[in-house]
């Protein structure tokens, strides 16, 4: 059942508290008023909305995607991708090689489709942000209570051991055998059953995405959530923000009802691609000239290892462990089972070769590697849409090859018979001896198959308006009442999964808004 105060396409235009203004020769516009409008309902938006609503402010959350409750989640990957992912998950940061990126577009945002890794920002990263970017109040000690609060709401815990599947056990044992540092993941879950359906919506609700935590909390404290609503631009009078304008998302070529929300403050939490996109469309100019710059991606590659024994990687929790041995080099490894449709479409074969390989699907261990990148890309505004460009550096390309080789060595050590590489044109590996060849080989980065789900940094925060887009508290420089609360704020990549960092920064943004107090409505009349 749909919760109270959460409105979807079917409810329009009769949103309680709204007025419908008639316009000559144009569609009627639906208007609403509130203290704060939050754009996006993922790790950033839902947290801000919840904290502000509990703090007594009148909050409206605007989410472009639809509302899909826990009961609607199944292992049908294709259906989930079509419903829960932006643009069917088929978006690329342009470059050579391109990087395919995915983000959630549903109530709960990417927290509905992520793996549930819940890690605090590493201390060295917080230290760097304080030292080099002059971010205030960001040391590990200062952030401790904020992280604790987030961890409590999303139930950040270690996995129950009986839910760990065979693929993850292989990764764990393989790492231990080589005396590598391997740790159990902390995940936002409450007695996760190990369904391995994290990326397609948790069918038990055990993964504590914002869909089942901060969004219900926001609604409970009086916030309103408008699903299927796309924000076109932020409205302003001079530098003072007055709200947002947008339209109902429909399934036809025609835009749905236009809406206008009058608000004293606007918080953008649309992610590192779309938050700068909205700012561009709104004509916001950063004095730093850095809006949309500084895009980091944590590029990922994956290897597919075939074992003699049956693995059945779909039985057991997603990413139970992380190999942290090479974290100082910016490399983190994990076992990441994916369903046959996605495994098959990303394998570099077709015809009989693909058919024969896919027969081994139950014997596959799919392992991935996250790279803390050193190069940055950019988001630009192209005909009103944000377009990302990103060029992998030679140095990062070399580290990806090294990481892949290390991962392959470990998998062969555990009995892998064959490993398919994420490098097009490079033959599969059949033994540990082949890995030596990989170390020695110069692999052009253009042939690497890169994916990511961690987009960061395009509205970087910091204490220098000449270098940063937002101040330490997410407020966009040279505007009044406009804030950012998502991974756009990161001044640099963090080298671990970003959800908890986003949530913690969003908590700070909410605290700042509450500290500023309710702005009198007449100031914005």
């Amino acid at each position: 059942m749909k919760p109270d105060r959460l409105y979807t396409r079917e409810d329009w235009p009769h949103i309680p508290g709204s007025t419908r203004r008639r316009r000559a020769f144009r569609k009627d516009v639906v208007e609403l008023d509130c203290d704060v409008v939050v754009v996006g309902s993922g790790a950033g938006g839902a947290v801000v909305a919840s904290e502000l609503a509990e703090g007594g402010l009148n909050v409206t959350v605007v989410e472009e995607g639809g509302y899909h409750p826990t009961e609607s989640f199944t292992p049908d990957a294709g259906d989930a991708i079509r419903r829960l992912y932006r643009d069917g998950g088929a978006i690329m940061a342009l470059g050579d090689p391109p990087v395919t990126y995915s983000e959630g577009r549903c109530v709960g945002g990417s927290t509905v489709i992520n793996g549930g890794m819940t890690w605090r920002t590493p201390e060295k990263i917080l230290g760097r942000w304080a030292r080099e970017d002059w971010v205030e109040g960001i040391t590990a000690a200062e952030m401790d209570s904020t992280f604790q609060r987030v961890e409590r709401f999303v139930s950040a815990k270690h996995q129950d051991p009986w839910t760990v599947g065979k693929d993850n056990k292989i990764l764990h044992e393989g790492a231990l055998k080589r005396d590598w540092d391997v740790i159990p993941n902390i995940r936002n879950q409450f007695h996760c059953a190990g369904t391995n359906n994290c990326a397609f919506g948790c069918p038990t609700g055990a993964k504590r995405s914002t869909l089942v935590t901060y969004i219900p909390r926001s609604l409970h404290f009086g916030a309103r959530v408008l699903a299927n609503c796309r924000v076109d631009r932020v409205t302003s009078q001079g530098k003072r923000i007055t709200g947002v304008e947008g339209h109902l998302v429909t399934t036809t070529k025609q835009n749905g009802f236009p809406f206008r929300i009058h608000a004293r403050r606007v918080v953008l939490s649309a992610g590192a691609i779309h938050t700068p996109g909205i700012l561009f469309r709104s004509g916001v100019v950063s004095p730093s000239g850095r809006l949309g710059h500084n895009l980091s991606l944590h590029p990922n590659v994956k290897v597919t290892a075939i074992f003699d024994e049956e693995i059945r990687g779909w039985e057991g929790v997603h990413q139970a462990y992380q190999v942290r041995e090479f974290q100082s080099e910016g490399l983190v490894f994990a076992a990441v089972n994916i369903p046959p449709s996605i495994a098959g479409m990303t394998l570099p074969f077709y015809g009989a070769e693909l058919r024969d390989l896919m027969k081994d699907y139950p014997r596959m261990v799919i392992a991935g590697m996250l790279l803390e990148d050193t190069e940055t890309g950019r988001v630009r505004n192209v005909a009103g849409k944000p377009v990302a460009t990103y060029q992998l550096s030679d140095f990062d390309g070399q580290r990806l090859v090294r990481g892949t080789a290390l991962l392959c060595e470990m998998l062969f050590g555990m009995g892998a018979q064959r490993i398919v590489l994420p490098f097009e044109g490079v033959p599969d590996l059949k033994s540990a001896d082949d890995v030596k060849r990989l170390y020695a080989q110069k692999i052009p980065k253009e042939c690497m198959e890169l994916v990511t789900v961690h987009m960061m940094g395009t509205c970087a925060m910091g204490g220098d308006r000449a270098r940063h887009v937002c101040d330490s508290w997410g407020r966009v420089y040279d505007t009044e009442g406009l804030l950012v609360a998502d991974a756009s704020l990161f001044p640099s990549p963090i080298g671990v999964n970003p959800m908890e960092t986003i949530m913690a920064l969003a908590t700070r943004v909410a605290a700042t808004i509450l500290a500023e107090g309710r702005v009198p409505a007449k100031a914005y009349a």
Binding site: E10, E51, E54, G55, P75, D76, A77, G78, I81, R82, R83, Y85, D87, G88, A90, E136, I138, R149, R152, F190, H191, T195, N196, N197, T204, V212, T213, R217, H220, F221, K239, T251, T252, K253, W314, P339, P340, I342, A343, G344, M345, T346, Y350, G351, A352, L354, R355, M358, Y361, P362, D471, S472, W473, R475, L482, T507, A511, A515, G517, V519
Partner: protein, 179 residues
Amino acid sequence: MSELADFRLSKAARRTLAALAPIVLTEEVDELGIRDEVVDGVELFLRSIPVAVRVAILAGIVTFEATARAVPSSLGRGFSRLPPELAAAHFARYWHSPLGALKQLARGMKMFLVMSYYEHPTKLAQLEYHPDRWIAQVAQERLERFAEEIREHEAQVTAPLPLPADVPRALPLAGGGQS
């Protein structure tokens, strides 16, 4: 609730994809009797992607079909009317093309067909891939084992817990202004 665009593949595009299916997926797609359903699955996926990308893909499919006519051995026939060996050779030319756009098109078409094929229940049953059974089993076990704890935890979701004073925040600026 549908999030999908109102779009249907043209007959010509369906013909091209249907002809490509046995090359990408082998004759197994016909042995399982699911060729049309695989093309339906591609259409479903195309409904979820942005219009501009969809238009580019459809233009690519038309190009792929038409360029077969330029090959002398095709005798002026489009891709979907070629005999199997010539059709396979045409796709292979795209797959191995030194031109990035052609290569990407071949990979794109392959990805759509493979995604649709390996989502089909008949194919998944053949692979003995039954995640639904696994999910049902472990979800039930979770409820049996932790029902009380889960109820208590869910009740905590909406319990009041005001933001503590030690969460870092900016000090209010004079006049309510902005940085």
